[in-house]
């Protein structure tokens, strides 16, 4: 499997962190607060959708709530593959960082 991109990594981590409350708005908000990534309301679904298709995320529909005008939320959850991918990139990072020489300027 390919190495996931930095953005994908950030999104996956966000979903992981948000646990049962990972849906469009919360994901957007966390990405903005933590990483400064500014997605539009619609735009966030593009990478989310891609990750679902890659099998790293699954989505499920929540119940409609009145403050959403009767609309339900779409929640996202990591799949085992998603966790794998994250761990792999973490290992990769560790290997890449390990025993680096002093920077010479």
């Amino acid at each position: 499997m390919d190495i996931i991109t930095r953005t994908e990594e950030l999104i996956l981590l966000t979903v992981w962190r948000l646990r049962d409350n990972a849906y469009g708005i919360t994901i957007r908000k966390h990405l903005k607060d933590a990483a400064g990534l500014d997605y539009s309301i619609g735009g966030i679904y593009v990478p989310l959708d891609r990750l679902v298709r890659k099998g790293l995320l699954t989505s499920y529909q929540g119940n409609p709530t009145p403050q959403r005008g009767g609309m339900s939320k779409r929640f996202y959850k990591l799949t085992p593959d998603g966790i794998d991918a994250l761990e792999r990139i973490r290992t990769l990072n560790t290997i890449m960082w390990d025993n680096l020489p002093e920077p010479s300027f």
Binding site: Y23, G24, I25, S40, I41, G42, G43, Y45, V46, D49, Q61, P64, T65, Q67, R68, G69, G70, M71, S72, K73, R74
Partner: protein, 884 residues
């Protein structure tokens, strides 16, 4: 599913802009709508708490814009997925119903190919003389005369007309004449040929018509006397690969007073096929003084003018009566008119001119057939598509249940129709290419499929295919997509969809539509059949008509200076019956001379056409003398004698031949006054569209120069031996001559060729139309039988006989054919009656033709349907009933 996502009106949403919400619903796929609309709503409400409503709304729209890339991404991804799915289903359907699909595509392809060929032909005919640089300003001068017995329209003009037009009217920038020398003898290096397309012309020709020059100077080419310009093919004929420029050709013909020599000063490329101009030689008229001031008689001269840039033809035409008044005064009204050169091919009704031209009516007929054939093919396609698509009710139901919107289904079915049409289009191009040589032979053209150059034809073809796709695919698409999934899935026959969705109720149920289409198809086929048969009957009639002249077995040879000795020699041959010398031969009257004739006791002047003959002519052609006597060499008064036909007699005002015999007439155009010595029965030589015109004969005497042809009537048997004898003998007496012979009836055939051609083309396309209609019927019949398999099974089990079943299945279709016939008959009656009016000699509309074509349609239909019915009726009922 889509409906549930629309936020209901009763839900209270404070102020998300309604419009934006609707956009949202439209933009996002249903799958995402819930999530995204919810997000929008939630965030909107949150913002409203901290910011002004105005700002929030702006933010909202901004977010909508930002979402665009995602929407696009989505749209493309899912469309591609759906298209892939549609394609897969379409291909599976094609494979599953190979027979139907092939029938469908093939029928459409044939129709399209016909349409293409006809479009090509029509385009070609319309392109005539459009390509000259100055074609908008070029006109042919023609003459209309209102004579007692009708209107005479002719393109032939007088020698001085061209120059006079140019000097008298400032509007005329240039004028030129083409003076036809039929049967000139042209020679080079001891080789001689008779040339029919030899013309004398003015130097202005080359400033008016931009021919493609291969050699020589267009401005100077005809300036000097005795110069000549050849077409490339002619130059090759005489000089082979040598350079023709500067060579000298010998000439012998009546224009220019006998023998001359011409210096070749120019070679032009062969004339385009789409010009009515037709010549091989253009010799200079400079220094040819023949009848330069003779306004008295018209000659085979076609006069053309080029107008000044700003001049108007209509205004010039109004001034032309001045010229008529001055030079062409006659008792009956006479007009000169200007005919735009690019309209000659299609609209000209004037006698004479370069080529026999086409007729706009023929073009209308052809276009009509082209459209009809295409329409029939479309109907076929539609019929079969409907029949087939009804079986797909379950698929449609399933798709709807799984969330397909109606628009998607419409797209799917239209798309499938396009796919089929595209396939048909490719096949049609192939078919058209293959059948083009055949079509060319039939139409006498040399068309090429993409000869039109440019992208235009490709665009036209693509548009046609698109249109056909829309027409053919629309009904199934709109009809099927309107099913209510519940009904379809419950197994309700989609046929009675009227009980289906009330919101989209289509009043045309497929079975009624299908019946209507079949009736239409068959009426058109029957009409075409009737038309074809009537055309052929008329052709037969024309060929078998009592002509008053017997053209069979007359062979025509060129004149020999030793004609008398030659003729006495050949008349001893057992297979030669008679022989005669004449100025022209009665093949057609296009190039006959004509001149005014009048009675001394009357002011009435009639243009009578005719030529010079000898005393054997009437015998040779078996023209019946009904009063008076033939010319005779013994009677010296025959110098001033005329033999008239009945029409000429009546035109001059005599009631009976006896009255006219011995009467004097003035024939100034014919040289001198004379007396009527004989009257012949009217005989027929022209096209049968025209009636008989006044004609007369004069005898040679001092006009020996005009002796041009020897006509020999042969006795039946050993034609080739007799021909060989004639040639040998002729050569003996005429060592330096050019021997050529032709049979009169062959030339006659050529004259009627346009009509014969029309008949053949018509027949071919009618046949194709009928085949297409039958293909469609076959498909629909077999579908209908298939649909009733179970019913037939049950009936068989209950003891129905095979013949009873066949009757059951055929009844409906036979009813359709009968109604089709009843519709077609009156239409074709009116149509063919109108067509026949165009002939001066015509048949009565034969009623048996109607019955016959009705019978044929009925039989064909019966054949197709019964075949299918038989198949269904003979099948083992167990096979039919075992399912389910």
């Amino acid at each position: 599913m889509k409906k549930t996502v629309k936020p209901g009106k009763d839900e209270h949403i404070h102020g998300t802009p309604e419009m934006a919400r609707r956009w949202l619903a439209r933009m996002f796929p249903p799958y995402y709508f819930q999530a995204i609309a919810g997000d929008f709503e939630e965030e909107f409400q949150a913002r409203l708490r901290s910011e002004s409503r105005y700002k929030t709304i702006i933010w909202y729209f901004g977010q909508l814009l930002l979402a665009l890339p995602m929407i696009l991404h989505h749209f493309i991804y899912w469309s591609a997925a759906m298209i892939a799915n549609y394609l897969k289903i379409a291909i599976r359907h094609f494979q599953k119903h190979k027979g139907y699909s092939l029938l469908n595509v093939l029928g459409l392809a044939i129709g399209m190919a016909c349409f293409m060929l006809i479009a090509l032909y029509v385009h070609h005919e319309y392109s005539y003389d459009q390509f000259w640089e100055k074609s908008e300003r070029l006109y042919r001068v023609v003459r209309v005369e209102h004579e007692k017995e009708g209107i005479e329209k002719s393109a032939s003009s007088q020698v001085p007309l061209g120059p006079e037009l140019q000097s008298a009217f400032p509007e005329v920038a240039a004028a030129t004449r083409f003076w036809n020398v039929s049967r000139a003898i042209v020679g080079y290096n001891g080789q001689y040929f008779r040339e029919a397309n030899f013309y004398f012309s003015d130097p202005a020709t080359f400033s008016m018509f931009d021919f493609h020059w291969l050699a020589g100077n267009p401005e100077k080419a005809l300036e000097t006397p005795n110069s000549i310009v050849l077409t490339a093919a002619t130059a090759r004929k005489y000089f082979g690969n040598e350079s023709a420029l500067g060579q000298v050709l010998s000439y012998d013909g009546w224009v220019g007073g006998g023998k001359r020599e011409f210096l070749v000063t120019g070679i032009i490329a062969d004339l385009a096929e789409n010009t009515h101009l037709d010549f091989d030689f253009l010799a200079s008229l400079q220094g040819i003084s023949t009848e330069a001031t003779n306004w008295g008689s018209s000659k085979p001269i076609w006069t053309y003018i080029l107008l000044q840039e700003k001049a108007s033809a209509a205004q010039l035409e109004e001034k032309l009566p001045i010229l008529v008044e001055k030079y062409l005064k006659s008792e009956h009204p006479k007009f000169l008119q200007l005919e735009p050169i690019n309209q000659i091919n299609l609209y000209s009704s004037y006698k004479g001119g370069f080529k026999t031209h086409n007729n706009i009516h023929n073009l209308y007929i052809f276009s009509g057939i082209g459209f009809l054939v295409l329409l029939l093919a479309c109907i076929n396609f539609m019929n079969l598509s409907i029949a087939r698509s009804l079986k797909r009710g379950k698929e449609v139901g399933m798709r709807k249940v799984l969330g397909a919107a109606r628009s998607q289904l419409i797209k799917q079915f239209l798309g499938e129709a396009f796919l089929m049409t595209l396939l048909a289009l490719c096949l049609a191009i192939l078919l058209a290419n293959i059948s083009l040589p055949l079509f060319n032979e039939l139409s006498g053209k040399s068309l090429q499929i993409f000869a039109l150059g440019k992208a235009a034809p490709a665009v036209v073809l693509a548009l046609t295919a698109l249109l056909v796709g829309i027409i053919a695919g629309s009904y199934p698409a709109f009809y099927l997509s309107a099913y209510r999934p519940v009904d379809v899935l419950k197994g309700k026959l989609p046929g009675d969809a009227r009980h289906g969705n009330r919101r989209i109720s289509l009043r045309l149920s497929p079975s009624i539509l299908r019946k209507g289409l079949i009736i239409f198809q068959f009426s058109v086929s029957v009409m075409l059949m009737i038309a074809t048969m009537v055309i052929f009957r008329q052709m037969d009639f024309v060929r078998g008509k009592e002509l008053g002249i017997t053209q069979e077995e007359v062979v025509v040879l060129p004149y020999s200076p030793a004609a008398e000795a030659f003729m006495s020699k050949i008349s001893q041959h057992p297979k030669v019956s008679t022989a005669s010398v004449s100025q022209r031969v009665p093949v057609n009257n296009l190039n006959w001379d004509s001149g005014p004739v009048s009675r001394p006791d009357d002011d009435l002047r009639i243009d009578i056409e005719g030529f010079l003959i000898d005393e054997h002519f009437l015998d040779t052609y078996q023209i019946e003398l009904i009063a008076g006597r033939n010319f005779s060499p013994e009677i010296s008064a025959d110098n001033e004698a005329f033999i008239l036909n009945e029409t000429a007699l009546k035109a001059l005002g005599w009631q009976s031949p006896e009255e006219a015999l011995g009467q004097p007439i003035n024939a100034s155009g014919w040289g001198k006054p004379g007396r009527i010595v004989g009257v012949v029965r009217d005989f027929h030589i022209g096209s049968f569209h025209e009636g008989i015109r006044p004609q007369m004969f004069h005898t040679f005497r001092q006009y020996t120069y005009w002796r041009t042809f020897i006509s020999v009537r042969l006795k039946p048997g050993d034609i080739s031996g007799t021909l060989a004898f004639l040639e040998k003998t002729w050569r003996e007496y005429t060592p330096a001559g050019v021997y050529e012979y032709f049979f009169i009836d062959e030339s006659l055939e050529r004259l009627h060729r346009a009509d014969i051609r029309l008949g053949k083309i018509f027949a071919s396309f009618a046949l194709i139309a009928i085949i297409i209609a039958c293909l469609g019927l076959l498909g629909v019949a077999s579908y209908s039988a298939e649909q009733r398999t179970r019913e037939i099974g049950v009936r068989k089990v209950l003891g129905a006989s095979v013949s009873g079943l066949i009757f059951l299945l055929s009844r409906e279709f036979l009813f359709l054919t009968v109604s089709a016939f009843l519709i077609a008959a009156p239409f074709s009656y009116a149509m063919m009656n109108a067509w026949l009016q165009d002939f001066a000699y015509r048949i009565e509309l034969p009623l048996d033709v109607f019955l016959l074509s009705g019978l044929i349609a009925f039989t064909v239909c019966l054949g197709a349907v019964v075949l299918q019915a038989l198949k269904a009726a003979l099948a083992n009922p167990i096979d039919a009933l075992r399912n389910e």
